[in-house]
Amino acid sequence: MKPPVDVPPRIVPLSESALTVEFGETIAPHTNDLVLAFAAAVEQADIPGFREVVPTYRSATIYFNPLLADSSTMTERLRALMTNARTAPPRLPVTHTIPVWYGGEAGPDLSVVAARAGLTPEQVGPLHASVVYRVYMLGFSPGFPYLGAVPDRIATPRLPTPRNHVAAGSVGIAGAQTGIYPHASPGGWRIIGRTPVVLFSLTRSAPFLLAPGDRVQFVPIEETEFHHLFRDHL
């Protein structure tokens, strides 16, 4: 894919203690690369008053202590960092292999996704697992990754009415995005499968499995293997 023409990033206040730096308005790997390089540069820059940075699809939000930094000084620092971030070599992405039991009880929406795509239910899992996904960002709930993009054919809009209960580990589709519910929660994504992998656990030294910029490779597994692996993860 050809990178879009670069437009100068826009810096807008989100609050008196946060600035959002927008690198574009669409979901594109090129834009997300700029966001991630910039977020990494901000973290390493040791800016007085800096609290945290939240990289998303197309923007990075910088939270700071307004008693230690004012908005205009912060804006200047961020502008200076942009130049460096653009020339910095990108971090090598970490790739995670995530097994998924597609369909059956694990994927209540798989048949609808198949019907819309003109596929048999058996074809959906392998097609969903045929591409390496980028973790564009995390949000919604602790450890929930927004992954993209799914093959056009199985891109499916959200449920008209969200479910009250989506099982932990559920893999869903919303438009061209795909994601994994780390915990049981309400949710409106089309659920096609479930993984035994635990995305967020406070008992691990690194509580979050995925970070923005990582890659995810899904691997279809059978129900029996799911239960086997699930026990191993407990």
Partner: protein, 332 residues
């Protein structure tokens, strides 16, 4: 009862003081000033809805600002104090009593061993804060004790208090008794109203809204609907329809963000809001007005007035400076 027994701060107690939850109240949670540093992983900041009120309570007691307390909503709990303990109740006036006798708000008082703290009629505001010398103890989850019920993080097993819960109290850095009677002077106490004007700055998608929409936002009061909680307030009033689509590619949202979905009815995000969102962000309520907004109840009225970002920063600094002057932070 041991008359004249020294408070636990001056000697090593045999066990940390415990508070027993006899009745949990409507929705009582452990909160501090919030969980920072993990928003990039989707972890909400949460923390006290009214950070100013809990900070005052902690400072009156000589606690660090980050000490945890209880956020009591509308209808308070009934708590039994096993040991004597200095406490302060700040925020909403929910008629707190000790063994049935009215206790003063915004003031350090001693709960005698075996005494009961109860709450009664709501006189003003919605959320009261119980702070105790030494702070409410419990595991630090990702750097904070704040409860975020939606994700089940922090506090007591990530949930609101239940009957027969037991709360531990942290070690007080000083004998809490030194501060008994310490009070926030009357002129500095907030007067919670049912009709509040909050100041806002323009949000990241402000340009998506017409001058008409901005006019409506600045001239008409909005009402809090029943769908208003720690995550956010859904507001009822004139619709603020964006000129283009209301949906954006999701990015970061903050406490105070005013999102506008396709129906044009604004949502004011509060302490438990998600880290990211896909609705256009029209405006952001300034931090200095968070406290008054946190004390609103469904049906109450909220109006908005636009200020510049510079003005918002200035107001942040002046409200911070006022608190520093009246109640300096406890230093080690």
């Amino acid at each position: 009862m041991m008359e004249g027994f020294p408070l636990y701060g001056s000697i090593m107690p045999s066990k940390p003081p415990t508070i027993h939850v006899l009745r949990p109240g409507l929705f009582t949670t452990i909160q501090d000033l919030g969980r920072y540093g993990y928003q990039r992983f989707g972890v909400s900041v949460s923390g006290a809805m009214d950070p100013w009120a809990i900070t005052v309570g902690n400072r009156l007691l000589g606690n660090p600002d980050q000490a945890a307390g209880l956020e009591v909503t509308m209808q308070g709990p009934e708590l039994l104090f096993e040991e004597a303990l200095s406490i302060a109740v700040t925020g909403a006036d929910l008629s707190p009593t000790i063994n049935g006798v009215a206790m003063p708000m915004w003031t350090v008082v001693v709960m005698p061993a075996g005494s009961r703290l109860q709450f009664g009629m709501r006189r003003g505001g919605v959320r009261a804060y119980l702070t105790v010398a030494g702070g409410i103890d419990g595991p630090l989850i990702l750097g904070s004790r704040s409860t975020h019920v939606r994700s089940g993080l922090g506090g007591l097993a990530g949930r609101a208090l239940k009957q027969w819960d037991r709360l531990d109290v942290g070690p007080a850095r000083t004998a809490g008794s030194n501060y008994v009677g310490r009070t926030l002077p009357e002129p500095h106490r907030p007067r919670y109203r049912t009709s509040v004007t909050a100041r806002v700055i323009r949000g990241p998608q402000a340009d998506r809204f017409t001058d008409d929409a901005w006019q409506r936002l600045a001239s008409s009061p909005y009402r809090l609907t029943l769908e208003s909680d720690r995550m956010g307030y859904r507001l009822q009033g004139p619709a603020l329809t964006p000129r283009t689509s209301a949906d954006i590619v999701s990015d970061a949202v903050s406490v105070g963000s005013i999102q506008v979905p396709a129906d044009g009815l604004p949502i004011l995000l509060m302490a438990d809001c998600q880290t990211t969102g896909g609705y256009a962000k029209l405006a952001t309520m300034i931090a200095a007005d968070r406290s008054l907004a946190a004390q609103l109840f469904p049906g109450d009225s909220l109006s908005f007035r636009v200020v510049t970002p510079d003005k918002a920063s200035e107001l942040f600094r002046s409200s911070h400076a006022e608190l520093e002057r009246v109640l300096p932070p406890h230093t080690t």
